[in-house]
Amino acid sequence: MNYWDQYLLPNSIDEALGMLHEGKGSAKVIAGGTDLLLDILQSRHPAVDALIDITRIPEMQVVERAYDRIYVGGGTTHNDIVANPLLQQNAHCLVEASSLIGGNQVRNVATIGGNVAHALPAGDGSIALLALDAEAEIASRTSRRWIALEDLFLGPRKPAFEPSKEILVRFRFPVLKAGESTMFQRVMRPQGVAIAILNMATWTRKSVEGIIEDIRIAIGPAGPKPLRARKTEQSLRGKAVNEGTLSEAVEALLEETRLRTSPHRATRAYRKHLLSVLLGRQFGNIGPQRGR
């Protein structure tokens, strides 16, 4: 079956953008291909004229620090993220999220850019980056722009950029400062890495007295796109963590999440309960129990 006519391996972003341009809307970026290939083979994705493989573009593999920001190339694989000392130090939640994706062989090819561009409501990488307040750099033929991750998703499998014309080049987020920490938690079937019932990533800045000065909470799947739990964050900001503030936060969280019963995963009631447990654990210093 003809899924595409051309497979192209550009060496620079400009070259890749030119190829997309020539594809006239019927070209598609491919990174690790772990999502795209299955979508195409299982006919969830229409055939395209050209596949443009961005994994040979050096600029997209770079992980670096510049001033007070960390930059992560969209072509970075999950295993490269896991092994990267800069990220281990500054983006614990991202490292943790990447380490939980697929099996070892999948992590060797699947990219963080692909995870985000695929725009699933519970993409592990997306959830972690959202908590990190990351922005994504989108390149088109004429310009480059930064989009906050929160604005990057329109709905399931719908990123807020033009996938047949544009490329997600890299991410950036602030370095971790004193008093700040991040965390990623995932609840799944017993000892299984397979089915995420719920993911949660948080970034917090606490004062020496233990007051939450600032906080970001990201959750999936809790709606059509990865969710920043703004109201919950607001309810916690400026407060010390105790039973009272926590239960207020849980209230807020339940209000702003749209949990559904998924036949594969779990009932709504159970997920609601999990939300409150996970949130509690972010602050109770109780490490999540990972089934591995």
Partner: protein
């Protein structure tokens, strides 16, 4: 597109078609058969390839991505150390270690494991066990439980670092005296903490309490490497799909999208017009022959209710049409062009609805052939009513009555190699069926009428199999390829996808089981009753026999104590009903795991309610040696039952040693132990289950073997027995070698080819080591006798005094007289074939047993429950088993480890479910999770040997019993940890959470 890359050191430059994955390029274009596949979605890792040294899954990588890369597969590793006059580099240390440690069972995942291990060791020469497990986590293995592969990699790492390591044979902790002094205390192993130094304290080999004869034997009882390991570790083209034939077509099956319908019409014209389509078959093209797909002896003990293709479909995934085309893509395209008009019929998906008043009748075809009490009008595929003793009187005599209902899910065998078959006409116009089957002889017999071809014109060959677990005790897809070869005259290959394995293969029968038990205050069981509703799905293959065994074994263990031992009161009633779901069938354990989930959870509840020691309560009421298997006079797979006395029972030792190993006394009921310091949300618990199985079907299962002596004193052993990765070729060779006094290397095994080997009923009912093994010993004894007679003559002629054959002994490749004089086997062979009074020394043996001696076991589980989320982490599984004499501790413990791992999935996460329209919810390894290497608990095996008198070496079965007790032991441990009584398996976090909510 044109691509260039390096493959195993050679430059490759070729054009690849669009859409080709690296997997297809390597296997189909370049015939690199060491790359396997078990899914099409990046989950199983069987297709692992090293790309610039990094392991990737070739099925989710497009071929063009190989451009400019350096690719390595297993073919670039070592080779057999003996290659004639040519020097051979021999095997790679990883390959050697995989063989020595028994890390290879079916070997289907082995190439991938070796590759990921190589990638790990080249970066990290001294990995921790946790790192090894992490690196293996992307390669699913359904056979081993990962313990031995992990050990293999650690061992190879040591070798590569230049360290001296002990031979595997030196590691065995056995001998009768040694056993008692062994430290069976618990290892202080922590799971789930940062420091993941798992299992390093647990040895590679099982702990064993061996029988007296162990020391007198030279190969039986020893950890011999598997006879097929050499080819498997090299990734040789040994599996069904690994052959290339000119003009071979690819077959595809059109599956029903609806759960219940009549086919009004099928239009295949568009599909046939598609270039490259060679044949499309519908029910109108085939003879209408009713049969059963269950691979069983004649007569099939179940209803005949299946056609190769029918004008009715009975579940989502049922067969509608067959296509054969030049390529897989064309075949798939053709499927989409077949137009079917369905007349939709009402359908149901719950067993409980099957016998309701207005339930739709699933089998209304006039050809339907009943078996026993089956009744298609009532959707009843089988019915069992067994009363032993007087159950009602037993209840009257009880002080307490316990009644509870338990559920078990439908689960998949999930062998990593899918079902696969290749068919072709040979030069004699005989149809060759090369297939991944557990029952080659049944395939030939059962397909003969379906194909309208005499059995003598069919040859079935079973090559290596990538796991079966019962899923391949089924004549399930062979007919598809065979019909298409008949239609086209061309070779045809047909292989299931992973999705098809889920929606159109077989599974374990889901059941709802109600237990009622009468108990006296002192814990004596006075009566025990099981009422079982079993769902066979749309077809009745194995319907009667699987569910029969639920009672036959599950309900036989607890006879009661005192006078009840002589006359137990046991009831087992079962209805096995049809539903519009994919058929259930045979799956390792064959109904017994279902039974023990209910029986053992019930025992635990009783022990707790009456405050009885759970171990003593079970032992008090359990069957003992010298007693009658209570069901033996009541039921025998639909045949005439005959009384069977239990000759050997090591259950008590199993319980005691297993309890010691898990530290029962310091944990059970010790509340301080249950708490996890600093983690109030975690609770620990411990649980036990005691179980029994059978060994073959008495008076029915027959295995044959023949042994032929060669010029050099080696032997060909031909067996019908079917090694599906279990190691049966190896343990059969060991038994022959023991009798013939030769090392196992001198036995050349060839198995399962209907043209060349004697009959064997096939690999099921845990029978091969026992039944086929006895046949091998009989044949070997006959050969040994001929050898002794000839050797006696030779020795006399050489001037010795009178020597009788009975005085001679075969040992060390020689025939030895009492005075120490000897002739070699090679001399005997040359004498018999070339020198005097020439004859071919050769013999056939066959065996059928009057009994089905049960193995017994105690299975222990230790868990940690997160009482807030309900998540269960199983930390440790220990199995102490009396499986008679162990022929090979490596392969036998491999069976136990792998069985426990499958059973763990049954206990905690595996489940197949359907939506309101009968569509399957789980069709891949993403939604249907099977355990990976980094999720495993600690596994420990203890063998308590008894000597079963009905087998020449004292063997009983070991393959199925590990499946029986894990789920209930885990369930009991969860109950112990936090009081959550989860009566429905699997014990998912949500079920635990719900149970906790209910109990608080």
């Amino acid at each position: 597109m044109r691509i260039e890359f390096t493959l195993n050191g050679s430059a490759i430059d070729l054009n690849v078609p669009d859409g080709m994955t690296l997997l297809n390029l390597l296997r189909d274009r370049l015939a690199v058969h060491g790359v396997k596949h078990g899914c099409e979605s990046g989950e199983c890792g069987a297709c692992t390839v090293l790309v610039d040294g990094v392991p990737i899954n070739a099925c989710v990588m497009l071929a063009p991505k190989a451009q400019g890369r350096d690719l390595r597969t297993i073919e670039s590793f070592g080779e057999h150390p003996l290659h004639g006059w040519r020097n051979s580099a021999g095997l790679h240390p990883l390959q050697k270690a995989f063989i020595e440690t028994g890390a290879i069972q079916c070997g289907y995942c082995t190439p991938a494991m070796v590759l990921v291990a190589d990638a790990l060791l080249s970066k990290n020469p001294s990995p921790t066990e946790a790192e090894v497990r992490e690196s293996l986590s992307g390669v699913l293995c359904r056979c081993t439980g990962y313990l031995k592969p992990v050990q293999a990699i650690l061992r190879a790492a040591a070798v590569l670092r230049g360290e001296q390591i002990e031979e595997v044979s030196e590691l065995i902790p056995i001998s009768p005296e040694l056993f008692n002094s062994l430290d069976f205390s618990e290892s202080d192993y922590v799971y789930g903490e940062e420091d993941l130094q798992l299992q390093t304290k647990v040895g590679l080999l099982p702990q064993m309490q061996v029988s007296q004869d162990w020391e007198t034997r030279h190969t039986v009882g020893r950890p011999e490497p598997k006879v097929d390991a050499m080819k498997l570790v090299q990734g040789k083209s040994a599996f069904t799909a690994d052959i290339e034939m000119r003009g071979m077509l690819t077959a595809k099956l059109l599956h029903s999208p609806v759960a219940h319908a009549e086919i009004r019409s099928i239009d295949t014209s568009k599909a046939l017009e598609l270039p490259g389509v060679v044949a499309v078959l519908t029910w109108q093209d085939l003879p209408r022959v009713v049969y059963s797909t269950a691979g069983q002896s004649d007569p099939i003990p179940g209803p005949l209710d299946t056609f190769s293709l029918d004008k009715k479909v009975r579940f989502v995934g049922d067969r509608v049409a067959f296509v054969a085309a030049e390529t897989e893509d064309i075949a798939n395209e053709a499927l989409a062009l077949i137009e079917v008009d369905y007349k939709i019929l009402p359908a149901f998906f719950e067993a409980a609805q099957a016998m309701e008043e207005n339930a739709p009748q699933i089998h209304d075809e006039p050809e339907y052939v009943d078996f026993g009490d089956s009744d298609a009008k009532r959707n009843l595929a089988a019915k069992i009513r067994i009363d032993i003793g007087d159950v009602e009187r037993g209840f009257d005599e009880a002080d307490h009555i316990f009644e509870e209902t338990y559920q078990v899910p439908k689960v998949q065998q999930a062998h990593i190699e899918p079902h696969v078959v290749v068919t072709y006409w040979d030069e004699d116009d005989r149809l060759v069926i090369r297939c991944s089957t557990q029952v080659p002889f049944h395939v030939r017999r059962q397909l003969s009428p379906v194909l309208n071809l005499p059995a003598k014109r069919i040859r079935v060959i079973k090559p290596r199999i990538g796991g079966g677990f019962g899923g391949k005790q089924e004549v399930m897809i062979e007919d598809v390829a065979a019909h298409l070869t008949i239609a086209t005259g061309r070779p045809v290959r047909f292989e299931y996808t992973r999705a098809e394995e889920f929606y159109a293969a077989r599974s374990r029968h889901p059941m709802s089981i109600t237990m009622k038990t009468g108990v006296k205050n002192d814990g004596t069981i006075t009566a025990n009753s099981m009422i079982c509703l079993s769902d066979t799905g749309a077809y009745g293959c194995h319907a009667l026999t699987v569910t029969g065994n639920t009672g036959h074994k599950g309900m036989a263990l607890y006879v009661g104590d005192g006078k009840y031992r002589q006359s137990p009161n046991i009831r087992f009633y079962a209805d096995v009903v049809y539903s519009n779901t994919p058929p259930a069938g045979a799956y390792r354990g064959y109904g017994v795991p279902q039974g023990f989930w209910a029986v053992d959870r019930q025992m635990e509840n009783i022990a707790r309610a009456l405050d009885l020691d759970p171990l003593e309560f079970r032992l008090k009421n359990a069957l003992r040696a010298g007693e009658l298997q209570p069901f033996s006079t009541a039921w025998s797979e639909g045949r005439e039952p005959q009384p069977e006395i239990i000759n050997t029972c090591g259950l008590e030792d199993c319980v005691r040693q297993g309890a010691r190993a898990i530290g029962w006394d310091s944990k059970f009921g010790v509340s301080a132990w249950k708490d996890v310091p600093g983690k109030p949300h975690l609770k620990r618990g411990i649980g036990v289950a005691t179980v029994m199985q059978g060994t073959a079907i008495a008076y029915l299962d027959m295995g044959g073997a023949s042994i032929k002596m060669n010029d050099d004193g080696s032997f060909n052993l031909l067996v019908g027995a079917t090694d599906l990765g279990t190691g049966s070729d190896t343990v059969l060779a060991q038994q022959a070698a023991e009798v013939l006094g030769v090392p196992i290397d001198d036995i050349v095994v060839y198995s399962s080819d209907t043209d060349f080997t004697p009959f064997d009923k096939g690999a099921y009912a845990s029978s091969t080591t026992y039944i086929s093994g006895a046949a091998v010993v009989i044949a070997a004894e006959k050969v040994a006798e001929r050898i002794r007679i000839r050797a006696a003559n030779m020795l006399m002629k050489a001037g010795r005094r009178e020597i009788g054959p009975q005085d001679l002994r075969l040992s060390d490749r020689k025939v030895v007289a009492p005075d120490g004089s000897s002739v070699t086997l090679e001399e005997v062979a040359l004498n018999s074939l070339h020198h005097e009074d020439q004859e071919q020394i050769m013999a056939v043996g066959s065996y059928v047993s009057p009994v089905s001696p049960p193995p017994f076991a105690a299975q222990f589980a230790q868990v940690q429950v997160d009482i807030e989320t309900g998540q269960v982490v199983v930390e440790k599984l220990i199995m102490a088993v009396d499986a008679g004499v162990i022929i090979n501790p490596l392969t036998a413990s491999g069976q136990v480890e792998g069985g426990m791992t499958q059973a763990l999935g049954y206990g905690v996460c595996e489940e197949m479910r359907y939506d309101d329209a009968g569509n399957p919810r789980e069709v891949d390894f993403h939604d249907y999770h099977i355990f990976s290497a980094n999720e495993m608990p600690e596994l420990q095996t203890i063998f308590i040997e008894t000597v079963e008198p009905t087998h020449p070496f004292g063997v009983k079965a070991v393959a199925e019993i590990p499946i029986d007790g894990v789920a209930p032991a885990v369930g009991n441990a969860v109950l112990d940890a936090c009081g959550a009584a989860v009566n429905a398996a699997p014990i998912t976090p949500e079920r635990v959470w719900t149970a906790l909510k209910g109990s608080s």
